[in-house]
Every structure is written in structure tokens, then in C-alpha cells.
């Protein structure tokens, strides 16, 4: 076999997003192609770099040359890429989406650099800095990129109280959504009476449209482990659990590998790095209840009980897992810790706004071009995120609103694009940071229907314990459903608003206390849409099927496609003649609308 140039590597994005778009087949093709050209070079199965819409991503790395990323790679493209680029030294500009040019390198022509790409230019990557750049299954990759240096600095040179002080000074607030100052939380737990103390990582990410934590665990699991190990030392918690939903098998697999590697190298277990601090870390798989992301329900679940929240106080810091002092943070929060400890509080606190320091990872989903993961400095505006980093709205349609913070959060309308994304501004605007999900809606989305979608989610995911959440969400949903079906009455809006406020005030846990937010915020910003449904019996976005009828206009060419596709045979018409929909048969399934190439099917 020909000798290979040292340092050649191929990266394949094999996070869940990559795998879902066919990364396994691409990986196979790469192996075959390499065999064919007689090269035995490392193939790195890396995590998600954030550009999920461009998966499968394949990067070619050659010594002293810019790293080139190919996007939306199909297996059949591989042979060409290997032959022309890897072997021939000529990157294929048509297929490449970007290149990373380190200092002293000459960029390839006709390929934009990452910094030219709007999706990257405005990002500030701290948590995600390794995602897509290392092999998550390799602790050596992690170590080579500064991994475990924070832990080493902590246990070798910082007393626990100093670490807590550093985290306090950094201004880090809980990234799971609550935004509670992390250092303060640690302080409470450290000062609580009780032995042993427990540390929990909440990886029960369940918001629709949110996948930040999954990507971090899949792309850089050691960062979370290191953050937890530092926290355990700072708090004096000898045992830890990562509570990860079982629907994240890849994250769990990578965590298992990472934990055993860390144990082997002495970053976990007894006497970490020769110190007298010990930390035993285990994974607990959740069974898929959204409410188990609520910390008290999560702890009940770890204890083997039904995942149901209990009132606080007592707070977990005082009486948590098995009634022992417990510190719970989410994945992203822990991942922020190593750089804070290693680089110092100031460098982290220098980023962000007055009340929200550092960066925040967001998952962009919905009607946006660059669906995927981004990390930005706190204070970046919604408009920058959607129009620049996110690449604007799919199909060039008009941006209408974004749901921030998942089903617990709220909708921000297009006219609030200047809102800086930080904890306090979002609350003021009726939304919340939440865990970082951003679901983007365009002008074809009905906001009443969107509100109903999120409320249906919380109604189904309510644990059933307290009355306002269990019954209140159902009662609100019944009203919303009635409105979307044309049965809305004048008092509905007032009743929804009042009940929503009561649910927020009286629910036991965060799930119920935030469940009405999507309804209340859409009512606040899109009241006219609600009124159109109620007063005029119209759905302006033409989504609510009960309020629309399908018709075929003069543009019809008589191509018969709609008639063939109609599942109920409601469309009739001779070839090359205007077709007609029989309203008594039409189920408003929207198929005709979708298949018509001449925009002849119309909704009224």
C-alpha cells in the first residue's frame, strides 16, 4: 500500500442528524473508496457541527492545507471527492460548502471560508467548540484540545470555595431554562448538611424542536463529564448521575465510552488525579416522560419512582435525591464549566450582556433555511439569529414569529426581531430562554394552531398530579380546538386569558406554571388572528381545515394529477378541462393543494 501523507484525515458528521440523513452509507462509501485508492487514513466519526440542514457533512483534512467541508453528501459523490480532492489535491468547489483556513495557510479558490459563511460569522463557540472537530469516542482528541485541563487546575490548585466563587463571578446561569445563578446553586448544596451529596446532570431534553444537549453529548461528551467532575469537587458530591432520555441512544453510548475512558485515565473514580477527591458517575436512562426534565420529578425517576414533581421547598440542594443534598444542572451548564475554570471568570463574563453572561446554544428548527445548532453571545438579537445565522426563511417566505423556549416559552412576532436574546429581555417580551429551542414560523402558519400544538404537547405531558395543569390545559385546549373549528365565541379570549393566568399562578411545577405561555403570547401578539377565527370564521393562514374550503380556479390545465391523488375521489374533471371539487366528499387533506403545479387549487 502506498505510503499515506501523514496527517490526512476524513471527518464524517455522524451525530444523530448525520445518521438520519444517511451518514452510515456515506461512511461505507468512504471506506470503499479509500480501499480503492489504496489509502489507509483515519476516518473520524465526529459529532454535529451545527449545520444539520447540510448533513451528511464530510471534511477532508490534509496537512498544511485548509480543511474543506462537503455538504449534503450522497454515497455516490464519495468516489469523486476522494479521487479528485484527497488523491488529486483538487477540492471540488461545486460540492464544497466551506473551508477552514488556519493561520499561514492559503485558502482554496472558489470555496468560501467558514468566516465568510453567515452561519458561522456571528457565532461565538465555547460549548460547541469541539463539536464536529474531534472524535467524541476519543479521549485523546479531547485531551489534545485542552480537555480536562480545567479539572486538573481545579483539583491541583483551587480550593472548592474558590471554584464556586469563580463560577459565581463568571455570571453563569442555568442553561436548562430557569436561569438560576449556577455558582449560587453550588454554594447552597456545598453548605447543606448531609452525606453523601449527589450531583445530577439533567439530560432529559424533551422540548419539541430542541436538540442542543443531545448534540453536545454526542459531539463532546467529555466536556460534560469534566464539568461535572469539577462541580463534584467544588460541592463535595461524591456520586453523580447523568439522567439521559433513552430516546438518545447515541448520546448514551458515547457517554458510556467517555465515562469508562475518564475512569481509566483517573479523571473519574477514586482519588481523581491523585487528589483525595472522588467522583463516581453513572448514567440513568429516562423512560421518555417530558416532566422528568423537572428536577424533582427527575429525582423521583432516578429513585425508581413514578416521575412526578413534588413541591419545593425543600429544594434539591437541601433535600434532593434520596433526601440528600443534590445539585442539578443541565448538560450545557456543565459544559460551560471547564473553560470558565481554566480561562478564569473574567474571560467568560466578558461575553454577553449585563444580566446574561457568556454564550447560549440554540437549536434552530421550523421554516428556516439553516436548521441546526448555533452558539451565540448572549444579547445577539433574534433578527441576527434568524436572518443572518439562520439564513432567513425557507422558500423566501415572510418571517412571522418564533417560538422560543419550547412549549414553556412564548412566541415573539416579526416586529420584535430587535429583541436581544437574554434571560430578562425574553421574559419581558412574554417568552423565555428555556433550554434554547427556536421554532420559526412563516406567514403560512396559523398562530392559533401553533398555540394549540404546543398546548397539546403540555396537556399530554402533564404528569397529572395537580389540577390546574392536568385539567386546566385540557380545558384551554378544548376552547382552542373549538376556535379552530369555527365554534369560537366572544368570551373565549377573556376566558383563555384568565384561565391561563390561574394555571400559571397555581400549578405545582414549572411545566404547569409555563404551559399557558404559548397561548398567552400568541394572544398578545396575534390577537387579530384569534379574532378572525372567532368573529369572521376565517383562518387567515388557511390552516384550520374547518374554516376553509378547497376550490380549483381557471389556472387548472386539466392535468388530472389532483384527481388521481385525491384519496376520497372528491375531484372530477376530464383531461385538459377544468376540474371540480365535490365539497360534500372533500376531507380537506391538502393533497390537491400540494400536488398542483399550476397553483390552481385555492383555499378560501
Amino acid at each position: 500500500m502506498a505510503s499515506d501523507p501523514v496527517g490526512q484525515k476524513i471527518f464524517i458528521g455522524m451525530g444523530t442528524c448525520g445518521l438520519a440523513t444517511g451518514a452510515a452509507a456515506v461512511h461505507e462509501s468512504v471506506q470503499e473508496a479509500l480501499k480503492k485508492v489504496g489509502r489507509d487514513i483515519p476516518i473520524i466519526k465526529t459529532g454535529c457541527i451545527g449545520m444539520c440542514s447540510k448533513e451528511v457533512l464530510v471534511d477532508i483534512v490534509q496537512p498544511n492545507l485548509p480543511r474543506v467541508t462537503y455538504g449534503q453528501v450522497q454515497p455516490e459523490m464519495i468516489e469523486k471527492i476522494i479521487e479528485e480532492h484527497l488523491v488529486g489535491g483538487n477540492p471540488i468547489a461545486d460540492l464544497a460548502i466551506g473551508q477552514i483556513v488556519d493561520e499561514g495557510m492559503d485558502p482554496f479558490k472558489e470555496i468560501p471560508t467558514y468566516m465568510d459563511l453567515p452561519v458561522f460569522r456571528k457565532q461565538k463557540r465555547i460549548v460547541l467548540r469541539r463539536c464536529g472537530f474531534i472524535d467524541p469516542d476519543s479521549i485523546d482528541d479531547y485531551l489534545a484540545t485542552g480537555g480536562y485541563q480545567g479539572l486538573e487546575k481545579a483539583v491541583k490548585s483551587m480550593p472548592p470555595a474558590d471554584i464556586r466563587e469563580t463560577v459565581k463571578e463568571s455570571g453563569l446561569r442555568g442553561r436548562g431554562g430557569g436561569g438560576f445563578p449556577t455558582g449560587l446553586k453550588w454554594e447552597f448544596c456545598a453548605n447543606a448538611d448531609g452525606d453523601p451529596k449527589y450531583l445530577i446532570c439533567n439530560a432529559d431534553e424533551g422540548d419539541p424542536g430542541a436538540f442542543m444537549d443531545r448534540s453536545i453529548l454526542e459531539g463532546d461528551p467529555h466536556a460534560v463529564i469534566e464539568g461535572m467532575a469539577i462541580a463534584s469537587y467544588a460541592i463535595g458530591a461524591e456520586y453523580g448521575y447523568i439522567y439521559c432520555r433513552a430516546e438518545y441512544p447515541l448520546a448514551i453510548q458515547r457517554l458510556k465510552i467517555a465515562i469508562s475512558q475518564a475512569e481509566e485515565k483517573g479523571y473519574l473514580g477514586q482519588n481523581i488525579l491523585g487528589s483525595d477527591t472522588s467522583f463516581t458517575l453513572r448514567i440513568k436512562e429516562g423512560a421518555g416522560a417530558f416532566v422528568c426534565g423537572e428536577e424533582t420529578a427527575l429525582m423521583a425517576s432516578v429513585e425508581g419512582k413514578r416521575g412526578m414533581p413534588r413541591p419545593r421547598p425543600p429544594f434539591p440542594a437541601h433535600r434532593g435525591l434520596w433526601d440528600h443534598p443534590t445539585n442539578i444542572n443541565n448538560v450545557e451548564t456543565y459544559a460551560c464549566v471547564p473553560p470558565i475554570v481554566f480561562d478564569g471568570a473574567e474571560s467568560y463574563a466578558a461575553i454577553g450582556t449585563e444580566g446574561t453572561k457568556g454564550t447560549k446554544v440554540f437549536a434552530l428548527a421550523g421554516k428556516i433555511n439553516n436548521t441546526g445548532l448555533i452558539e451565540v453571545a448572549a444579547g445577539t438579537t433574534l433578527g441576527e439569529i434568524i436572518h443572518e445565522i439562520g439564513g432567513g426563511i425557507e422558500g423566501g417566505r415572510e418571517f412571522k414569529a418564533a417560538q422560543l423556549g419550547g412549549p414553556s416559552g412564548g412566541c415573539l412576532p416579526a416586529n420584535l426581531v430587535e429583541t436581544p436574546i437574554d434571560y430578562d429581555s425574553l421574559i419581558e417580551a412574554g417568552a423565555m430562554m428555556g433550554s434554547g429551542g427556536v421554532v420559526v414560523m412563516d406567514d403560512s402558519d396559523c398562530m392559533v394552531d401553533v398555540a394549540r400544538f404546543f398546548l397539546t404537547f403540555t396537556e399530554n405531558e402533564s404528569c397529572g398530579k395537580c389540577v390546574p395543569c392536568r385539567v386546566g390545559t385540557k380545558a384551554m385546549n378544548a376552547v382552542l380546538t373549538r376556535i379552530t373549528e369555527g365554534g369560537g365565541v366572544e368570551e373565549d379570549l377573556e376566558n383563555l386569558a384568565q384561565l391561563g393566568e390561574q394555571i400559571k399562578k397555581t400549578s405545582l411545577c414549572g411545566l404547569g406554571q409555563t404551559a399557558p405561555n404559548p397561548v398567552l403570547s400568541t394572544m398578545r401578539y396575534f390577537r387579530d388572528e384569534y379574532e378572525a377565527h372567532i368573529h369572521d370564521g376565517k383562518c387567515p393562514a388557511k390552516i384550520c381545515t374547518a374554516l376553509i374550503t378547497f376550490g380549483i380556479n381557471e389556472a387548472c390545465t386539466g392535468c388530472t394529477v389532483c384527481a388521481k391523488k385525491c384519496p376520497v375521489g372528491a375531484i372530477t374533471g376530464e383531461r385538459k378541462e377544468l376540474h371540480v371539487i365535490d365539497q360534500s366528499l372533500c376531507t380537506k387533506c391538502n393533497v390537491c393543494f400540494e400536488v398542483c403545479k399550476f397553483d390552481a387549487v385555492v383555499k378560501e
Binding site: V479, N495, Q502, L508
Partner: protein
């Protein structure tokens, strides 16, 4: 630390950790609640109890929010009112408004609150929850549509009952409370869930659709089944009991809890098989008679025997079920009217032996500790007692102490009983080796010098004899008998010695024949050497199987004792009773229960008067008893059903039963409690005390009393330790004897001021090697009680029989394999005295080589197999097991 706060302008001071709701209750500010329950941990699910913090204007659920110093709480602001109304409105939106047919209607918390708020409809469309109605479970029914998911039932079933039969199933609005996998309930059927349910979701299947709840009148009385003596509210109307609730005030022994018997067993009262008229034997048949005819037959019969053979040719079996008044008059009748000391009861076969051991050791023939005192116990040692079945509500006190308090639990029981699951240690010693086990524990404590030396020096005699008697009983040697590893015994001995307060619980009786006087004696020795007598949380309680065993003995229904344990052989005592009773009393020792059967068999006893007992079903050796009965010239049976003994009687007298009469019971911890008449007895029946007094008078000895409580007044005049328990003091609570005078509060824990004789007596432990089976009779018979039944009485409660209809023999899986048995097969158990046939169930609760058989069923009389020897000599009954064709198949064939 004390917390000061203001609620609606009222100052409250509470302990740190108290909730806002606790504080509000203290200052009489009313806050509505659904999920809150005094015996359960805070849950915070219903949210109806929200209050406003005046500082932040935020709402808090008062039941789960701790009161903090300086807090200013308001419960009547507009915000609170709106929130409460919203919760109420939501609950009613999907709650079926089927109040007209709901068993809880009239006492439903939701209905009451809705009534107060006065709105008949809400803003949101009334919807149907479309949940399940449980139509399969016996006794308890659940309509999930009415459920407001407050979780009281779920929590009471787990936290109080230790069952966990119910839990939340599903998520969101469809969440429901159900047994696992939606199956029918298969539980203890205590019905705690029914009583805890604030709405009509869980209710008695027996009560449903019988009568509106608001038409019922509660009558407070004492449960007639086991020795715990739970305080009941019988809910009655028109001379019928419809429903039973446990009383939950401070004067009740049971915190509102009941077992299946207490809650559902009342049905025996209204059973159509009740005796409704006197009957006399004419030839082979019992025929209906008037009371006069029956009395004539009895009086002439008794007089004839007395004239021909002397008063000692007559005997009387008293009742461990009947009231103190009934039993007092019964023994007075036997002694003063007839002139014999031949009066006794089934207490002879168990409980009497236990309390005799206590009398010998401590000087008082009664349990030393109270059930409530278990709250203070550090270590509970349940020896051969299946407490959660024998005395369910006492079991709950043990569970609470062990699960939520600082108490440890040692269960020594060959069977895998429920309590073993909650025990810190479960010892499975061989049946009958309790004495060997205790000897080895005592041996370790004495050998290692772990005894309470100060206590022993000051208060105990006979230590040397004790020491000598256990010198050889090392754990290593005893292991051969007990099968308990020596190391484990040593560990237990040390933990017992290290415990500040030890309580021993035992359950003597025919059902546990191997717990006899020597076992209790060994237990008293253990308590004495560890100083565990006469202080809170320490002592011994032998649990009585029947409601009034203790009381019947206290009032003299024993061959050797006049009322108050005053010996018949004591001339002075006799003389004072002769003065009081205005009669000449016999001085000779009377025949005890076994003695009377023997004398009848021998033809020496010619007349037998049985009150509220069924010797054919409850005395050992049914064959022998049957022969004895046949020998009698006159057999009188006074009872509420035509029992097996009544069927062979010459005269049968129909009596009233517990809920139909007034009087007192004395429960297993010496607590005298009121029995109140809740309903009228069937027309032609009479109270037991009344019958006896009429017969006494007819015999020429004046026994006229105006009422049962009139009799009670005489009792407190002759039983010194009852002297201060005046009837009016029993209105709201019971009183533990000794209570020598009206100002005395009663005595929960005995011997706090020392012992009657100055010192307690440690006695040598007589250890006998337990018997083994033989080739002919290889299996050890374990007769026992079931949770669902009490004696044979509750088998007359139709609904309880839905749960436990027939006797089933429990066979160990290993034995079943060698016998070729599977569950549902029929077996014949054969012993030296006879055989019985029943269904078998393969269950690993028993050790190999043993077979458990319940004692309650008339058609499977276990006493057929028993002999008198086990009772006296601590032998054990062995049987053979043979698989047979089912009786049902035979019938079909």
C-alpha cells in the same frame, strides 16, 4: 425553634417545619383542602388551599409551604378567591354531576365546596372524563370518573397500609388511580382508601345504592372482632347498619383506620340466619319455643342435675366475644346462683397462659405496654406473631414506627409474613423453637455481660436460676433446634441489648399453639435482663385474637379466679364476694375448659351452659368434644347463630350481638372501652346479660339489674383495678386499667413505679426440644387466622366471603412437588384425631414440611386435627397430606 407569622390578622406560633396550613388551623382560619390528610405526607396536588403572601402577593399552596418567621398570609383576598374558584371550576368541568346516585353524596368535600361557592355551572363546557369503573373488585368499587386525583388513596395504601395496591397510571388528563395493569384489586381490603377519598370515587360496594349517606346516624362503639378494639362509627338507619367508618379523633385507638373485618364484617349482624327465637329439643329436633318454655326447661334441668349430682356436675363456658357485663353475670350465675366454679373460656387455650406468665414475672396478669406506646419503641420484636393479619391496625402502628420513625423491627416467624418485608431482620426459626431462640439470645446477653445490671440488681429476683437454665443454650447449640445461624443470634442479642426501648409482640392462642406460657416466660426474662419493663416504649403485648379475652378474664370468667384475679382458693376474697353477692360461694377449684370436656366425657359433668362460644368448632379435638356433648343431660347454648354446638343443644337461646347492646369491652392493652347499642336487636332476642340475670332470678337467686351499665357499676365495685373507670369517663375515650380511682388517668404502661411484689421474678426457662413429624404424619400443621376473618363470626358476613370464601391449605412448593400438587388441587389432611379436606394452594410463605390452614371455616374444622396436648405440653400437631379428587368432582360424579 418557634416560627411567628400572621394569618388573616391572627398571630400564630408554630414549630419550625410546620406548614402555613398547620398554622392556619391552629388559629382557626379555615382553608379548604382535598389532598391534605392528617396521617399522610404532604403532597400538594389539589392546589385548592392556595393562600397569598402579603409581601410578594404570590400564591402558595398552604399545605406544602413551610411557615417562615414574619410571614403575613392572607386567605381571603380577591386573588385567592379567584384561584380557588378556578380550581373548583376545573374540577367540576370534568367531574360527573351524578350526585343523586353517588354514595358520597351528602358528605363529599367537592360537593360541599361547590355548594359554598354557589355556582351551578362553569365557563368551560362540561365534559366526560371517559374513564373506567371497576366492576370486578370485591368490597371496594372505584369510579375513576369521579376521581379528583388527590392521591389520598394511593398514599394511604402505601404510607399507612404498606400495600401499594393503588397508584397513578398514565399521564396528563387520562391519569387514573388503578391497581397494577388495570386488574381487579387483590389487597387487604382494609378500605382505608374508601375512608380517605374526599369524593365518591372509591366506595364500599356493599353500601352503594342502599341509602343516602345523609340519612345515616353514626353510633360510636368498639369493634367486636380482634383484641385491638378499634373505635368504630357504625352508620345506621332503621335498625340496619349500612356503613362503617373508623373513628379518627384522639379518643380512638385506631386513628380512623380499620381492617377488612372492622369495615365490612358488620354484615353478620343482619344475616338472615340469625337466631330469632328460643328453641328446645323435642326428640331429635330443635323446635321453636317461647322464652318461658326455654327457661323452664333450663331451670328444671339445672336444678335436677344439681340435686342429683351436685352443683359441680354443671359447667359454664363463657364468651371471649361477649361484653364484660355478660361475662361478669355469667360467672356470677355459675358461682352464686348454681354454686360451682366450673366456669371458663377459650382464653384457656392461649391468652390465659400468656398473661399467667406475665403475672408470674411481673405480678399483673396483663400486657405491660399499650399499643399507642409503640410510637416510642426503638426496637420491636415480633415473635411468632403475624401482626398485620392477627391485629391489622396494631400492625399499622408497627409499620409507621419502623418506616417513618426511628424504630427497628425484628420479625421472628417461620412464615414469610408481610411484616417481614419491612423488618430489619427476619429470622425464620423452626416452628415451635421460639423458646430455644429466646434462650440463646438470653444466653448471649448474659454471657457477654450485656444485661442492664442496675435494673437487674434493683428490681429482679431469680437471675441465678435463669442464668443456670440458659447456661447451656448457646446459639451454637440451639442452632440445631432453631435453624437460626449462631452469628445472627449473637448479632440480634447485641442489638437487643443496645436498644433503649424494646417491645415484644406475641400472638398466643390456639392458632399459634406453639406460643405458650414458656415462650412468654422466656420473653419476660429477656425484658427483665435488659431493663425493658416499666418505661415508655418498652414491654410486652400478647395480642388477643378475640375482642374481649382480656375483659372476660378480668371479670372472673375463669375457673380459678373470682373477678379481678382474686383466687377462689383465697377464703378472704371469697368472703368479701359472699358479702357482696349475698350467696355462699364454692371453695373447690373449678373445672377449666378442657376439664369440663373431660368430665363430660367421663360422665361426671351432666349439664353445660355455653354462652357465645362454639366448643365444637373452637376447642381442640372436635371428636372428643362431640362425644362429650352427647354425654350431657342438658346442653344450653346461648348465641346469635345456630352454631355446630347449638345444633346438638337441648335448649338454644337467641341473643343480641355487639352492635345491638350496651356495655364494655377490654382490649388487648387493658383499655376498657364502651360498646354502644346502635340498632335494635331482632324482636325475640335478648341481651346475654339480661338472659343470665333472668335465669339467675328464676333459679331463685336475685339477679335483677336495670341495664348493662348497671352491671358495669357493680363490676367497678368488685374489680379494684377498674374502680376509677366510671361509665361517664368512657364517653369519648377508653381508659387503661389499673385505674384505682375516679381521678386516676389510667395506666398505659405498667410497672413504671415498680412491681406489686417489690421485685419482678425471672424464671428458669424450660426448654423442650420441639417434636418432629413421623413417617405416618410428616407435616407440621400450622393453624392460623386470616386477615379477612375473625373466628367463625365473619364467615357470616356475605361480602367478606367474596374475598376469602373457603379454607385453603398453603403448601410449600418443595412439598407440593413431592406430593404432586398444584394450586387448586384438593387434599386430605389426616392426623391422629381425624381428617379434613380442602383446596390446596402452593405458596412459599411456609417453610418446607409445614402446612398452613385457616381456622375460620365451619365445614373445614381444623380443630378436628388438634389435640389438647399441644396446648399443654408444647407438642405440635403433625398430619399427612394426600391429594384427592375434588369434592366438587365427586358431587358431579
Amino acid at each position: 425553634m418557634k416560627i411567628n407569622l400572621t394569618i388573616d390578622g391572627k398571630k400564630a406560633e408554630v414549630d419550625s417545619g410546620a406548614s402555613i396550613l398547620d398554622a392556619a388551623r391552629q388559629v382557626d382560619v379555615e382553608i379548604p383542602t382535598f389532598c391534605d390528610h392528617k396521617d399522610l405526607m404532604p403532597f400538594g396536588s389539589c392546589r385548592i388551599c392556595v393562600v397569598e403572601d402579603d409581601g410578594t402577593k404570590r400564591l402558595f399552596a398552604s399545605c406544602v409551604t413551610p411557615a417562615t418567621d414574619g410571614m403575613v398570609i392572607k386567605t381571603d383576598t380577591e386573588q385567592v378567591k379567584e384561584a380557588r374558584e378556578a380550581i373548583l371550576e376545573l374540577l367540576l368541568t370534568y367531574h360527573p354531576l351524578d350526585c343523586p346516585v353517588c354514595p358520597q353524596s351528602g358528605r363529599c368535600d367537592l360537593q360541599d365546596l361547590a355548594f359554598i361557592h354557589g355556582k351551578d355551572s362553569g365557563r368551560f363546557a362540561q365534559g366526560d372524563a371517559e374513564k373506567k369503573i371497576d366492576l370486578d373488585s370485591p368490597l371496594i368499587e372505584m369510579n375513576e370518573n369521579r376521581c379528583i386525583l388527590c392521591g389520598r388513596c394511593v398514599r394511604i395504601c402505601n404510607e399507612v397500609q404498606g400495600e401499594g395496591q393503588l397508584d397513578f397510571v398514565g399521564r396528563g388528563f387520562p391519569t387514573a388511580v388503578e391497581p397494577a395493569f388495570g386488574r381487579a384489586m387483590d389487597c387487604e381490603f382494609c378500605g382505608q382508601c374508601i375512608q380517605a377519598c374526599p369524593v365518591g370515587a372509591l366506595y364500599s360496594r356493599v353500601f352503594k345504592h342502599t341509602t343516602p349517606a345523609w340519612e345515616l346516624t353514626p353510633v360510636r362503639t368498639t369493634c367486636p372482632f380482634c383484641g385491638v378494639g378499634c373505635t368504630l362509627n357504625l352508620e345506621v338507619k332503621n335498625d340496619r347498619i349500612y356503613h362503617v367508618l373508623g373513628a379518627d379523633d384522639e379518643g380512638a385507638v385506631n386513628n380512623g383506620f380499620l381492617c377488612s373485618k372492622g369495615r365490612f364484617g358488620y354484615e353478620y349482624v343482619g344475616n338472615p340466619d340469625r337466631l330469632k327465637t328460643p328453641m328446645v329439643r323435642k326428640g331429635d329436633a330443635l323446635v321453636e319455643a317461647t322464652w318461658e318454655e326455654a327457661y323452664d326447661r333450663i331451670v328444671s334441668g339445672l336444678k335436677k342435675i344439681r340435686e342429683q349430682s351436685g352443683a359441680d356436675a354443671v359447667g359454664g363456658i363463657a364468651s371471649v366475644r361477649c361484653t364484660n357485663e355478660d361475662n361478669y353475670l355469667f360467672q356470677k350465675f355459675m358461682r352464686a346462683a348454681l354454686g360451682t366454679n366450673n366456669v371458663d373460656s377459650v382464653a384457656r387455650f392461649g391468652h390465659l397462659q400468656a398473661v399467667e406468665a406475665l403475672r408470674k414475672a411481673f405480678g399483673i396478669a396483663a400486657p405491660t405496654d399499650s399499643m399507642a406506646d409503640i410510637e416510642k419503641s426503638d426496637l420491636i420484636f415480633a415473635l411468632d406473631a403475624n401482626i398485620t393479619e392477627d391485629a391489622n391496625v396494631l400492625g399499622l402502628k408497627v409499620l409507621k414506627r419502623v418506616r417513618y420513625g426511628d424504630g427497628k423491627l425484628i420479625v421472628a416467624n417461620p412464615r414469610k409474613i408481610k411484616l417481614a418485608k419491612f423488618a430489619d431482620t427476619h429470622i425464620r426459626h423452626r416452628p415451635g423453637s421460639g423458646v430455644a431462640l429466646l434462650s440463646s439470645i438470653i444466653n448471649v446477653i448474659l454471657e457477654e455481660g450485656l444485661e442492664d445490671k442496675e435494673f437487674v440488681a434493683q428490681k429482679v429476683s431469680g437471675l441465678d436460676d435463669l442464668k443456670a437454665s440458659v447456661a447451656d443454650s448457646t446459639p451454637e447449640k440451639m442452632e440445631n433446634h432453631t435453624s437460626v445461624p449462631a452469628d445472627q443470634v449473637r448479632e440480634i442479642a447485641r442489638s437487643i441489648a443496645a436498644s433503649p426501648a424494646l417491645t415484644i409482640l406475641l400472638a398466643p392462642g390456639l392458632a399459634n399453639a406453639y406460643t405458650g406460657e414458656d415462650t412468654v416466660c422466656a420473653a419476660t426474662n429477656l425484658l427483665l435482663i435488659t431493663g425493658n419493663i416499666g418505661k415508655p416504649g418498652a414491654g410486652i403485648i400478647p395480642i388477643s385474637e378475640y375482642n374481649n379475652i382480656q375483659g372476660s378474664m378480668d371479670v372472673g370468667a375463669l375457673a380459678e379466679f373470682l373477678p379481678g384475679y382474686q383466687a377462689v382458693s383465697d377464703a378472704g376474697a371469697r368472703r368479701s364476694f359472699e358479702d357482696l353477692w349475698k350467696a355462699t360461694l364454692p371453695s373447690g377449684p373449678g373445672l377449666d375448659s378442657e376439664g369440663m370436656i373431660q368430665a363430660a366425657e367421663d360422665g361426671k359433668l351432666k349439664g353445660l351452659y355455653v354462652m357465645g362460644e362454639d366448643p365444637l368448632a373452637s376447642f381442640p379435638d372436635r371428636g372428643k368434644v362431640s362425644g362429650a356433648m352427647e354425654n350431657l343431660d342438658l346442653l344450653v347454648v346461648q348465641d346469635i347463630f345456630l352454631t355446630d354446638t347449638a345444633r346438638v343443644a337441648d335448649v338454644v337461646l337467641p341473643a343480641s350481638c355487639g352492635p345491638e347492646k350496651n356495655g364494655t369491652f377490654t382490649n388487648t392493652d387493658r383499655r376498657v372501652q364502651r360498646v354502644r347499642k346502635a340498632i335494635n336487636a331482632p324482636k325475640n332476642t335478648r341481651d346475654d346479660w339480661k338472659i343470665i340475670s333472668e335465669l339467675g332470678t328464676a333459679m331463685g337467686y336475685d339477679m335483677s339489674y336495670t341495664s348493662a351499665m348497671d352491671v358495669y357499676r357493680e363490676i367497678i365495685g368488685v374489680v379494684p383495678f377498674y374502680a376509677g373507670i366510671l361509665p361517664e369517663r368512657l364517653d369519648k375515650t377508653g381508659i387503661h386499667w389499673p385505674c384505682p380511682e375516679a381521678s386516676h388517668p389510667g395506666t398505659e404502661v405498667l410497672h413504671t413505679d415498680g412491681f406489686p411484689d417489690g421485685r419482678a421474678q425471672a424464671g428458669p426457662v424450660q426448654f423442650q426440644e420441639p417434636a418432629n413429624g413421623t413417617a405416618d404424619y410428616p407435616y407440621l400443621l400450622l393453624p392460623g387466622t386470616l386477615l379477612y376473618h375473625s373466628g367463625t363470626t365473619t364467615t357470616k358476613a356475605v361480602s367478606l366471603n367474596d374475598v376469602a370464601p373457603t379454607a385453603v391449605a398453603e403448601v410449600n412448593p418443595e412439598d407440593a412437588r413431592s406430593l404432586g400438587l398444584t394450586s387448586g388441587d384438593w387434599v386430605r389432611l389426616k392426623g391422629k384425631k381425624g381428617s379434613i379436606e380442602m383446596e390446596a394452594r402452593v405458596a412459599d410463605r411456609n417453610m418446607q414440611g409445614t402446612v398452613f390452614v385457616p381456622t375460620h371455616y365451619r365445614d373445614t374444622s381444623v380443630n378436628t386435627l388438634l389435640t389438647y396436648e399441644p396446648v399443654k405440653e408444647k407438642g405440635l400437631t403433625f398430619v399427612s397430606i394426600e391429594k384427592i379428587e375434588s369434592m366438587a368432582k365427586d358431587a358431579e360424579g
